[in-house]
């Protein structure tokens, strides 16, 4: 009896060892690639941000790169712009995405057609969108000024060249590009809102706004919990239009964090400054995501 048990547990151990060996073999290709292109660069960025070799102090460790970073006016502009950009892209694109989803959720041909129009920018490269919007914003001859002139407004405006409107113009491209993508998730979320709950609320005398506020919106909590972190990641990482439309200008008005990192790393070959900026940006993204998750969770609890 005891002998059988020992044999069985030996068998189990052998099985466990075999599973571990097999898992190692199956995971090896992915792990090797992740080590090479995700984990190692993270370590390298952390190390580079703390190694001072630019000012001729021969690879000493220290926080000098961070000191230089926060003393750099271009970085503070990029940080400030990126906060404005994040808020200015996320709030309108989520609001528009939800509004489109609410109205276009019907299973009719016309709603399907209109949904397709809103989603189409998702399928296009951001640089292609930037190329189109370079014309949309063209002073005098461009799409906006051309039709404003038809409405009687004759003063052409340099939307991308004026520091007062450049960031808003870049924000608009992002909102145009991403709203349809977020709408898809709201459509999926709305499909999961049970009709009988809405009917019950209607019978209880709740009007459309109350039904939205107290039934639909709380049930969309998980959708927001998924979409907001994606939108935050996009606000940090999607800068193709800045590269091609404005190069961060005029006068740093559209300089964003990743563009700043790109400039330091590639154009100025200042890896210490680029690394420090990367650490600050990723830490900021993680903090913002955690904060959004937490406040979202507490608001869901409150609503339910």
């Amino acid at each position: 009896m005891a002998l059988i048990q020992v044999e069985a547990s030996g068998e189990a151990r052998r099985g466990q060892r075999r599973a571990t060996a097999l898992a190692s073999a199956l995971l090896a290709p992915s792990l090797l690639l992740l080590a090479l292109f995700t984990y190692w660069p993270v370590l390298l960025v952390g190390a580079q941000s703390l190694i001072l070799d630019r000012l001729g102090d021969g690879g000493r460790l220290g926080v000098g790169n961070y000191v230089r970073l926060f003393a750099d006016g271009h970085f503070s502009s990029a940080l400030r712009n990126n906060l404005v950009y994040a808020l200015g892209t996320i709030a309108p694109s989520l609001a528009l995405a939800l509004a489109f989803a609410l109205v276009l959720q019907a299973n009719t041909r016309i709603a399907a057609c209109l949904r397709t129009l809103v989603v189409m920018p998702l399928m296009m490269p951001l640089v292609a969108a930037a190329a189109l919007f370079a014309f949309v914003y063209l002073p005098a001859g461009g799409l906006i000024d051309f039709y404003l002139a038809k409405l009687g407004h004759v003063r052409p405006h340099n939307w991308l060249g004026d520091p007062a409107t450049a960031l808003a113009a870049v924000v608009a491209v992002t909102v145009w590009k991403n709203t349809g993508y977020y709408m898809l998730f709201f459509l999926a979320g709305l499909a999961g809102v049970p009709g009988d709950v809405l009917d019950a609320a209607r019978i209880d005398g709740a009007n459309a706004l109350q039904r939205f506020r107290h039934v639909t919106l709380p049930l969309l909590g998980p959708t927001f919990g998924f979409v907001i972190p994606i939108a935050m990641l996009n606000a940090l990482t999607q800068i193709d239009h800045v590269v091609t439309m404005t190069q961060g200008g005029p006068n740093d008005a559209t300089n964003l964090l990743l563009y700043y990192i790109y400039q330091q790393a590639i154009q100025n070959s200042d890896s210490g400054l680029a690394a420090a900026a990367t650490v600050v940006s990723v830490a900021g993204l993680l903090a913002a995501t955690a904060l959004a998750r937490r406040s979202l969770e507490s608001s869901i609890h409150y609503a339910s």
């Binding site: 199956l26 390298l44 109205v103 129009l117 490269p125 190329a131 001859g141 193709d240 690394a275």
Partner: protein, 272 residues
């Protein structure tokens, strides 16, 4: 009353959606205009129309090379991603080994740390691997996909284990089980993943811009950017519209034909 409000909402949404489509409409109309019309911004011009802008665009850049490079890049990335993600997804779905959940979390870190954020160190790595200015260098950081692993793990978990047990009794090894038994059943998930991945990489700009330097190695997005700056300098907006359509067109056409499946794929990327 209710019906009225619904119609009002639909009218506002329709106006919004049409506004959304305006840049596309302009691209289509302007790409077909002839010469350099003053009212190139007009969405309702009277003509004349021709395909001349497409010819000019095609001749002002090696579009054929850009297409081939882009197709090669997307195809290569997706093929390796699906293979590596199937192996890892099977390990996470079916095998019991110490540290499994921690390792899975470590995989998911890649969802956040995408290559553009790690431009500089990844570029250094590529130079060491002699992959700078090489299409393989653009592809390499994407070969492992945390999202792919996540998706394959979910998919394999949803397949009853009986199929594998039967195959094991017949003497099938793990690779045969993954690629001959499970993969065919996971085809819808793989297709969804391929759609998302191809869209992302067809449209990607910053990373290929940094890695590639020779004109003959460029992909469509980087080619478009250099092409566009040249055309904009000459104010040849019809050619710009045609060139943009050449770059964005293929995915847009695919989208219009496979609308339902593509939308469903993007929604699966939101699976928790």
């Amino acid at each position: 009353m209710r019906v009225d409000r619904l119609n009002l909402g639909l009218i506002v949404a329709a106006a919004g959606a049409l506004l959304w489509a305006t840049p596309f409409a302009w691209m289509l109309v302007a790409s077909l205009r002839e010469g350099l019309p003053i009212d190139i911004a007009s969405l309702t011009p009277s003509g004349p129309f021709s395909l001349g802008n497409f010819r000019s665009a095609w001749e002002s850049g090696p579009f054929l090379v850009w297409y081939l490079n882009t197709i090669l890049m997307c195809g290569g990335i997706v093929a390796v991603q699906i293979a590596s993600a199937s192996l890892a997804g099977y390990a996470f779905a079916r095998l019991d080994f110490p540290g499994r959940d921690k390792l899975f979390t470590a995989f998911l870190a890649q969802l956040l740390l995408i290559p553009p954020l790690l431009i500089e160190p990844n570029l250094v790595t590529l130079v060491h691997l002699r992959l700078y200015d090489n299409l393989l260098g653009v592809m390499a950081p994407y070969f492992a996909s945390a999202f792919g692993v996540f998706l394959m793990r979910q998919t394999f978990r949803s397949i009853p284990i009986d199929y594998e047990e039967a195959a094991k009794l017949d003497g099938a090894g793990p690779l045969a089980i993954i690629f001959l038994i499970l993969a065919p059943m996971a085809r819808p998930a793989m297709a969804a993943f391929a759609i998302i991945s191809v869209t992302a990489h067809w449209n990607e700009f910053l990373w290929p811009l940094i890695v590639l330097s020779s004109p003959s190695h460029q992909v469509l997005t980087v080619g478009l950017a250099s092409f566009a700056s040249g055309v904009e300098a000459g104010s040849d907006w019809g050619v710009l519209a045609a060139g943009t359509l050449l770059v964005a067109g293929p995915l847009l056409v695919v989208f219009i034909f496979f609308h339902r499946q593509i939308v469903a794929s993007f929604v699966t990327s939101g699976l928790k």
